[in-house]
């Protein structure tokens, strides 16, 4: 997987915008949003189960998971469009149980945009401000400023059906943002856009958040999107939070096979824990043989564990590595996937296990260095993998 965290791979016109430093939760800062053991069932099926989560002011938090994992339900619980069966939802320490959606200081950008067809752009964006009873002059000023910020000047009098998909999305965003909510909720906002537009909009969202100093909560099933925009990611499955961490942590230190497999590509090597000591562990695997991992394993000797190894950390070579680069194994090239910037090599080990290795195509040669059925050696450093116990 290409490293989306490398700023040099960002589109040229974003080079000048410095990415805000990775979010660090200061233990002293109280959470802005707190979900306390929240549960919600629909027709007997649990959409969200016993879920607790803190979201801090100023962060861009992503809820990531497969369809039906409950992430949208969690979003709607915060917006007030659903009522939790168990647990509490708190905003700024205040229990939202008695607060109906129209009185909550959160605003949502809907997946379908939900623009009012009978109002023009101006009417849509001003709608929320009118409910607050603000003076007309102020409403007009704020609407104009927001439209300028989102590059919608000139579109004020257009109706939604006269706008393109991207423009409608901006209006939906403007409408939610203009009320300066404590938290902006985004329900799969980029799902309907094509890849290029999606990429550009992701960066714009990050830029907006930083500029306005708001807290964003985004729901998405697209892991690349979550990795790009989020300060922290909450990975969900079947109504439960599996792991909450920053993108690098989620990627390099998954807490389970499920998370390791869900995010990006991974080799999961099953084996028996032979020894675990200060800062390293030794595992015996039927496919790969003896593995050394430079992180301790929280398991007992003899337990079944898995080593999660990302393909880009595995080196492919024609000959066995001369330096004692820890782990290595021999196999045959089974399949090659050419992605343009990288190539993914599937290597079949003697016992049939298939390992993936990926390498950037550093040269412009059309002829690739490896061919199918060619015998090769795979090698990786001791600290390249992580031991997983579940």
């Amino acid at each position: 997987m290409t490293s989306v965290l490398d700023s040099s791979s960002a589109p040229a016109r974003h080079q000048g915008i410095s990415r805000p430093p990775p979010f660090r939760s200061d233990p002293a800062t109280p959470p802005l949003v707190r979900f306390e053991a929240v549960g919600k069932r629909f027709s007997g099926v649990a959409a969200v189960e016993d879920l607790s989560l803190d979201i801090f002011p100023g962060e861009f938090f992503a809820l990531l998971g497969p369809s039906g994992c409950g992430k949208t339900t969690l979003l709607r619980l915060l917006a007030g469009l659903e009522i939790p069966d168990t647990g509490r939802v708190l905003l700024d320490g205040q229990d939202l149980a008695s607060v109906p959606p129209h009185r909550r200081a959160v605003n949502m950008m809907f997946q379908s945009y939900a623009l009012f067809p009978h109002l023009n752009v101006e009417g849509n964006v001003a709608f929320g401000l009118r409910q607050d009873g603000l003076p007309k002059a102020e409403i007009a000023a704020r609407v104009a400023a927001m439209l300028a910020l989102l590059k919608l000047e000139g579109f004020e009098k257009r109706k939604p059906h006269q706008l393109s998909g991207g423009q409608r999305q901006r209006v939906a965003l403007a409408r939610a943002l203009v009320k300066r909510p404590r938290v902006l909720l985004l329900d799969e906002p980029l799902a309907a856009l094509d890849k290029k537009l999606r990429g550009e909009t992701q960066f714009e969202l990050m830029h907006l958040r930083q500029k306005l100093g708001l807290t964003f909560l985004i729901v998405t099933h697209d892991q690349e999107e979550a990795m790009t925009v989020a300060d922290r990611i909450g990975v969900m499955d079947q109504g439960r939070l599996i792991q909450v961490a920053s993108p690098p942590e989620i990627y390099e230190q998954p807490n389970s096979r499920w998370v390791a497999d869900f995010i990006g590509d991974v080799n999961l090597i099953e084996g028996r824990l032979l020894a675990s000591g200060a800062g390293c562990a030794t595992i015996m695997s039927a496919s790969v043989g003896r593995l050394e991992v430079a992180t301790p394993a929280e398991a007992s000797t003899g337990d079944t564990v898995w080593v999660a190894l990302r393909p880009e950390k595995v080196r492919v070579s024609h000959t066995a590595p001369a330096d004692g680069l820890g782990n290595c194994v021999a196999g045959k090239i089974w399949d090659i996937g050419y992605l343009g910037d990288i190539s993914i090599y599937k290597v079949r080990l003697p016992d049939g296990f298939i390992m993936k290795a990926s390498a950037a195509n550093m040269t412009r040669l059309i002829e690739r260095p490896f061919r199918i059925d060619e015998p090769v050696w795979l090698s990786w450093a001791g600290d390249a993998g992580v031991v997983l116990t579940r």
Partner: protein, 317 residues
């Protein structure tokens, strides 16, 4: 472009081949001809007869168009036509009162239908999903039952010794049973009763299509329930309201059965006037003139209705 293709909100208009097979034109021709002969054509005949005089003959009007008479016959024919019937309508207050009364009753009943029908349609959309087809069928079922029967059923209820009075007497609300039949009240009850499905169904169809997300967005942006209804639901339901209003108002103006069975004989609605002119007075030309004037009166609403239907059709096909 990919955005529209992905979202696919409205099907795009399909480009049609300019050439059409002969069979296609024949296909269009069949219903087209039928309607021209049996719907459009007769109106011209009505127009002609409205310009004629009544006569004790078969047919009971003169002049009669006889093509065998040649050009001379035609000239005589046209000379014999006159606007006498229209002069009669303009001068005799009975007719003008009848038109005015019909429009008034139609207007008031349409308003009543709206007041009753809108909450009913709205309630149907708020019902649990599983119930909606059943509710829909329940509202439509009386419509399938005979119109005449349902009006007749009201006679049962409204007559002097009928159930309504029995109920009122039992509850002690009145001492002597009032007369409900042969009153305007009975006409209104009958009209509202018969036309309710025509008001409810278009409004229900429009409300049903309203995406729930719009109301959630309104709530999210700070609208309590009643305000969201007023600012979002109501404006977007107006097309259905217009359709229902036209669908009711226009035929009610010309209504005959209801005022005849349930109403009194003091002033008649225009449908009754036409009937009496035709069947009782045997004055076909006068009846035709009444019909033409009624048609002229309703022409604008009819065209508005037809325009809206076509626009809806264009929007969807």
């Amino acid at each position: 472009m990919t955005v529209e293709a992905i979202i696919k909100a409205q099907p795009l208009p399909r480009a049609r081949a300019a050439r059409r097979p002969l069979g296609w034109w024949l296909l269009i021709l069949i219903p087209y001809l039928w309607l021209v002969v049996f719907f459009l054509g007769p109106f011209l005949i009505v127009l002609k007869i409205s310009l004629s005089q009544t006569a004790i003959a078969q047919p009971p009007y003169t002049p009669v168009l006889d093509l065998a008479g040649g050009a001379h016959g035609l000239r005589e024919f046209f000379n014999a036509l006159s606007l006498d019937n229209y002069a009669l309508i303009a001068s005799d207050p009975i007719y003008l009162l009848s038109y005015a009364r019909s429009v008034l009753i139609a207007g008031i009943s349409t308003a009543m239908l709206l007041l009753i029908g809108y909450p009913l349609a709205y309630g149907m959309t708020r019902a649990p999903r599983g119930w909606q087809p059943i509710l829909f069928m329940l509202v439509v079922l009386p419509f399938w039952t005979s119109f005449l029967i349902r009006i007749y059923a009201w006679i049962n209820v409204l007559q002097r010794e009928g159930l309504l009075n029995q109920l009122l007497l039992a509850l002690g609300i009145v001492d002597t049973p009032p007369a409900w039949l042969a009153t305007d009240t009975a006409i209104y009850i009958g009209i509202v009763y018969s036309y309710l499905p025509f008001m409810v169904l278009p409004i229900y169809a429009t409300l049903e299509k309203l995406p729930e997300a719009l109301l959630e967005a309104a709530a999210d942006l700070g609208c309590p329930r009643w305000k969201a209804f007023w600012l979002v639901t109501l404006p977007l339901s107006l097309p259905g309201v217009f359709a229902g209003t036209l669908l009711c108002f226009i035929p009610i103006v010309g209504e005959f059965v209801i005022p005849d069975l349930l109403g009194g004989s003091d002033t008649m609605m225009i449908g009754q006037t036409l009937w009496v002119e035709f069947f009782a007075n045997r004055d076909w030309p006068a009846a035709s003139a009444v019909a033409i004037v009624l048609l002229a009166l309703l022409l604008v609403p009819i065209m508005v209705y037809q325009q809206r239907q076509m626009r809806q059709l264009e929007g969807r096909s």
